[in-house]
Symmetry: D2
C-alpha cells in the first residue's frame, strides 16, 4: 500500500457563504483530487474552520508555489491559512538536568542542558529560545518539563508548544496533581495535552484520556498508572499536530481526525 | 439558542475529481450556507462518501423541490443520495410476547403482538411487514427482539433495521453472548449496534462500546452491567441514524459525527 | 443458578493485628462459609476497612441475632459495623415540581410535591425529612434534584444521600457544568455520583465515568450525551450502595466490588 | 512514604469452611499484620482463591522459613500456594532477528538471536529453553514475538509466559488481527495480554483494553493506534503478574488488584 504524496490546507476565517465552494473550486480547477475535506463553524466566534487534503499527483501547481497561488483567494476571504507536509524529526532535546543525557544520545539526538533557578530563569529561557530559533524548530514538546514557562517563551511559539499535564484538566491545575487526585478520592485519573499559553494549564486542549483507579491505589500507583496514560495522550497530541489535524480556535481546538 | 432549520444531503458515488466543488457550488449558487460538510473516500471500494448540512433559511430552492433540482447533478455523477430532516417518532411497538404491553401503552404508543413459533414465523413476519408498510415506517429498531429475522424481512429494510447485540462483535456471535464471555474469562464486555442483514450478527456496525468486568462478576452481573451498555449503544446508533450521520458502505459504515 | 441467602458485614475500625483472624474465626466457629472477603487499610487514617459476605445456609446464629452476637467483638475492637441484606424498593418520589407526577404513578410509586423557594426552603426540607422518617427511608437518591440541600438535611442522612453531578468532579463544581465544560473546550465529559455532605459537590465519590466529545458538539449535544452517562453512573452507585459495597472513609470511599 | 517489606501468599484450593480463619489465624499467631487480603470462590470450579499480603516487620517467622512453616497447613487444606517478593529484572532478550540488537544492548541487557524457520523451529526452541533454564528465568514475555510457540515450550512455563495479542480476544484470533478488524469495520480495536497455552490465543486472559477508531482510519492507522495500546496492556499484565496479583483458575484468571 504505497502512500501518495498529499498536501493539506488548514483554513480559519470569518464565516461567509460559498467558502467550501470557492476553496474546492480552486483545487478542482488545478486538477487536485480532494481525498478528505472537513469543516466546521464555531458557534461562539463565528469562525469557519476547514481542513482539506488533496493528492499532489497530477496537481497543476508545483508544490513550492501553492502558498503564493492560493494567497489572493486567502486575502479576499480574510483567511488565515497554513499548509504543510508530514512528518517531523526530533532535532534536539533540552533539559534543566543532565540526568537523562545518555538516553537521547543513544539515539543520536543532541542534548542541551540549561539548569534553571529562580534567579536565572528568564536568562536561560532566552538562550533556549535562541537555540530553538537557530535550529528552525517548529514544535516544542514539554515532556515532564516541570518548569512553568515564562510569558515571553509562551508568546514566542503560539499554539506550537505542547504540554502534557497529568490530570483531567481543569481538575487539579498546578503542581502535584496525582497527590491532589489521591486526596480528593477520585475514581478515575486523567491526562491532558494542550498548547501552552501564558496562563498555567489553561491553553487549548488537544487530547484527554483517563484510566480507572481504586481505593487500593497509593499515590505511587497513581503515578505509575498515569505514566502510561501521559505517554499515550502526549503521543496522540503530537501526531494530531504534525498531521495538521489541530485547528486552534480561541481557547479551544477543533480536531479533524 | 434557537435552532435554524437545516437540510442534510448524504452522497455516495464513484470517486472522481471535482465532486466537492460541484456539490458545494450547487448549494452556493442557490444561496445555501454550509454549516458542516464532511467527506471521505473509501479505499476499498473507491466510493466517495459525503454528508453536507446547510441552512434552509435564505436557500432559494423550496424544501419540497430540493430533491428534484438536485437530480440532474446526481445522475451525471452517478450518485446515490438521500436527504431528509430530523427527528423521528415512535409509531408503534411490535413484540412476540404480550408481557410488556402496559409499558408502551402508558406512553400512548400502539402495541402489537405477533407470537412467533418456528412453524408460523414466515407468515407472522409477512404480517409484521404489512403493518410496517401501512404505517410508513422508516426505521425498525430491534431492542432485545430475540428472534433471528427471516431473509425477506431483512431485505425489505436494507440499512434500516438496527439491532443491538450484547457482545463486542465479531466476538461471541449468536446466542447467549454473556455466557460465552463468562466462559472465556474476558476482562471487558461489549455491545454492538449494527444494521441487520440476512447473515446473523454480520451487518455493518454503527457503534460499539465496552464496560470493564472482573472475575467476581457472575453471568448475572454481566447481564446487569451489559444492560446499561446496550441501552446507551443502541440509543447512540438510533440518534446517529436519525441525524443522517451513518453512511453504509459495503460491509461497513462511515459515521459523520 | 439459584442464589443462596447471604449476610454481609461492613467493618471500619482502627487497624490492629489479628482483625481478619478474629472476624473470620467468629464466622467459622458459627459454621459460616465465607464466599467473599476483602479488606484494606487506609494509609491516611490508619483505618481497617473490611467487607465480608457469608452463606446464611447452615450458619448457626439466626439472622435476627447476628448483630447482637457480634456486638461484644465489635466493641472490643472499637468497630463500627453495619450489616444487612439486599436489595431496596423505591418507596416514594419527592419533587419540587409536579411536572413528572404521572411517571412514578404509572409504576404505582407515591409522588410528593414540595415546591421550594428561597423563603420556604428550610421549612419544606423539614417536611421532607419528616416524610422520609415516617417511611423508614434508608437511602435518598438525588436524581436531577436541582436544589442544594440544606445542612440539616445533609446531616440527617450521613453517607445515605447519593447525588449525581454531571461533571468529572472536582472539575466544574456547581451550576451548569456542561456549559462550563463547553467553554473550557474539554475532549471528555464526565459524571460523578457521590454522597452528599454539607459542602456542595464535595462529598465522598462513589463512581465516575466519562464519554468522549468533540468540537462539533454543542452544549445541547453535551447535555444529551451526558444524560445517558449520568443514568449509568448513578445506577452503578446505587447498586454498589445497596450491595454494601461502599465503605466511606473520611472524604473518600473504599469500593469492594 | 517509606515502603515496609511485605510478603504475599497466593492460595488456590478446594473450597471448605474456615479457610480464611485458618490462614489469617496462622499469620496472627506469628504476629503478622495483614495489610491486604482478598479472596474469591470460583463458582465453576469450586476453587477458593486468595491473595494475602502482610508486613514482614515484626513477623516471627524468618523470611526463608515461611514456605516450610506454612507447608503443613497447605497440605492439610490441599492448597497450591505460591509466595514471593517483588519485583523483576530483565535478564535477557531473545529474538529471531538481529535487527533491534542495539536497543537492549544500549541498556546493558544481553541479546540472543535464534533465527527460526519451519525446519529448525523445534530445535531452536530447545536451545531457547536451555538458555532460559540456565538463567533461572521466572517469566517469559512475548512482545511482538511473531512465532507460535511449540507445545513443549508452552508446557515448560505454564502460566509463566505472557503474550500480547493485538485484538480484543476472542475476536480476530490468529494472524493480522488489525487487517481483520479493518475488514469487519469495527468501531473499537483492542489488545489482550494472556498466558500462553498450547492452543493459539486461547490462554487465560490477564488484561484487555480498547481504543476508539473510525472509518477514516486505514490499516496503518489501526496499527499505530494499537501499538500504544499493546504496550500499555502488556505493561499492566506484567506488573500484575510480578505483584502476585494474577491467580490462574482453569481457563480464566482472578485478578486481585
Amino acid at each position: 500500500m504505497a502512500m501518495q504524496p498529499t498536501a493539506i490546507l488548514l483554513v480559519s476565517c470569518p464565516d461567509q457563504k460559498g467558502l467550501v465552494a470557492q476553496i474546492s473550486e480552486f483545487l478542482f480547477q488545478n486538477n487536485g483530487n480532494i481525498i478528505h475535506a472537513d469543516n466546521h463553524i464555531d458557534a461562539e466566534t463565528g469562525l469557519f474552520l476547514m481542513r482539506v487534503e488533496w493528492e499532489l499527483d497530477g496537481f497543476r501547481i508545483p508544490r513550492e508555489e501553492i502558498a503564493a497561488r492560493f494567497a489572493p483567494l486567502a486575502e479576499r476571504l480574510k483567511m488565515q491559512s497554513a499548509s504543510g507536509e508530514l512528518p517531523g524529526n526530533i532535532s534536539l532535546v533540552i533539559s534543566n538536568h543532565a540526568d537523562l543525557q545518555s538516553v537521547p544520545e543513544r539515539f543520536g539526538i543532541p542534548f542541551h542542558v540549561f539548569p534553571i533557578h529562580p534567579e536565572n530563569k528568564r536568562e536561560q529561557e532566552q538562550k533556549e529560545l535562541a537555540l530553538l530559533e537557530k535550529n528552525h524548530i517548529d514544535l516544542v514538546v514539554l515532556a515532564r518539563y516541570m518548569q512553568v514557562l515564562g510569558p515571553e517563551f509562551a508568546r514566542a511559539y503560539p499554539n506550537r508548544i505542547i504540554n502534557i499535564h497529568h490530570s483531567f484538566l481543569p481538575a487539579f491545575i498546578g503542581s502535584r496533581p496525582y497527590h491532589q487526585a489521591y486526596d480528593r478520592g477520585v475514581k478515575l485519573i486523567g491526562a491532558t495535552s494542550h498548547y501552552v499559553t501564558e496562563q498555567l494549564d489553561d491553553g487549548p486542549i488537544i487530547e484527554q484520556d483517563i484510566v480507572r483507579i481504586s481505593h487500593r491505589d497509593s499515590v505511587d500507583d497513581l503515578i505509575r498508572k498515569g505514566r502510561d496514560l501521559e505517554r499515550v495522550v502526549l503521543a496522540r497530541a503530537v501526531h494530531l499536530h504534525l498531521g495538521f489535524r489541530v485547528l486552534p480556535c480561541g481557547r479551544k481546538t477543533a480536531i479533524f481526525d
